[in-house]
Symmetry: C2
Subunit: 198 residues, 2 copies
């Protein structure tokens, strides 16, 4: 005995999500089949269709937007500082802090030769064009402190090596509230390298 | 700055699933918006609609099925033993073992007065009718060993107290491969109660 075909198909569809294995996919599909009201299930399926039909990438920064140019890129008051992030989620995280008033550039990925992702596969070629066109004086790299993140940061540094533009990276170190006892070696090394006089 | 409306709506739709909080819902919705191909996203939304449009409960056992009467209930070779389980997933788990050749009765929930779920809210009233109609001689209760599970088991025992039908429950105890050191007290007590001569 197996699950009905339509249920098996739904499980397979859920399995493509990151962090969702066969067991969770089964649980989600069964929840749709047995617990959701018809109304809720339909509104979920419509929400998915709406997302893929209405959302696009901002033509300037590459962030997710329902307009051709996103809200932030439309804002002419923004300073001529460009923060390079991996994805739209990171834009929201920095916007929540309320301390950055510049513009963003969303790469949509990181350079990773092992997965076949080179500079052309992410939103990098447009970065140079933007810097010239928008008269950017400063770039801040806010990428994860992983191998791919470091590689991408390095690549961008090289891109602007010969130009008068200052390229910064965000500070890496001990997160606020964290215990030194539980921090890993590399974080501690970064924290030491990033020490500041008080 | 906020996410576009359609994305926010999709996040809210994902949040109704069990075990999915706001953070995971955000991750899933962003995956739909940025990583899924249009094709995959559409096939997910269609799979959801198909599930709620084609699936129904088997008129006899209450299990999920794409026919009025499920495969197992259609099988006339099945023994006149009835196993009572909470949901369709449990049916599949027992079918996988290959050692049970009886029929199933899927409750679709457990009695839980605190959540306002009484015997009438689950597939219990039909149980008595089936037992008479199908000439069942033996009932096996395979419900979780939780407060609700115990309450439901007790209720079913009482239902057949006066009848000649034997009501069994599955054995509770130490799972195979588990370490006594890590087993909780109640499991160990159940294991002791369920001891067998070797």
């Amino acid at each position: 005995m197996k699950y009905p075909n339509s249920l098996e198909k739904l499980m397979k569809s859920f399995e493509v999500f990151p962090g969702i294995g066969p067991k969770t996919a089964e649980r989600l599909a069964l929840h749709v089949a047995t617990k959701l009201t018809k109304e809720n299930a339909l509104s979920l399926s419509q929400a998915i269709e709406e997302v893929i039909q209405t959302l696009k990438k901002c033509q300037i920064c590459g962030s997710i937007s329902d307009t051709d140019v996103c809200e932030i890129c439309q804002d002419t008051e923004r300073e001529a500082i460009l923060m390079v992030v991996e994805n739209t989620k990171d834009v929201l995280s920095f916007e929540k802090t309320g301390i950055f008033h510049g513009r963003y550039h969303v790469l949509g990925g990181l350079i990773s030769p092992l997965s076949g992702i080179g500079p052309e596969e992410i939103h990098l070629p447009k970065l140079h064009e933007r810097v010239v066109k928008e008269n950017i004086k400063e770039i801040i790299l806010a990428l994860s402190s992983t191998v791919s993140g470091e590689m991408t940061s390095l690549y961008i540094c090289k891109m602007f090596e010969e130009s008068p533009i200052s390229v910064y990276r965000i500070g890496y170190g001990l997160p606020v509230g964290a215990d030194i006892e539980y921090a890993d070696e590399i974080t501690l090394r970064k924290a030491l390298e990033g020490r500041r006089k008080i």
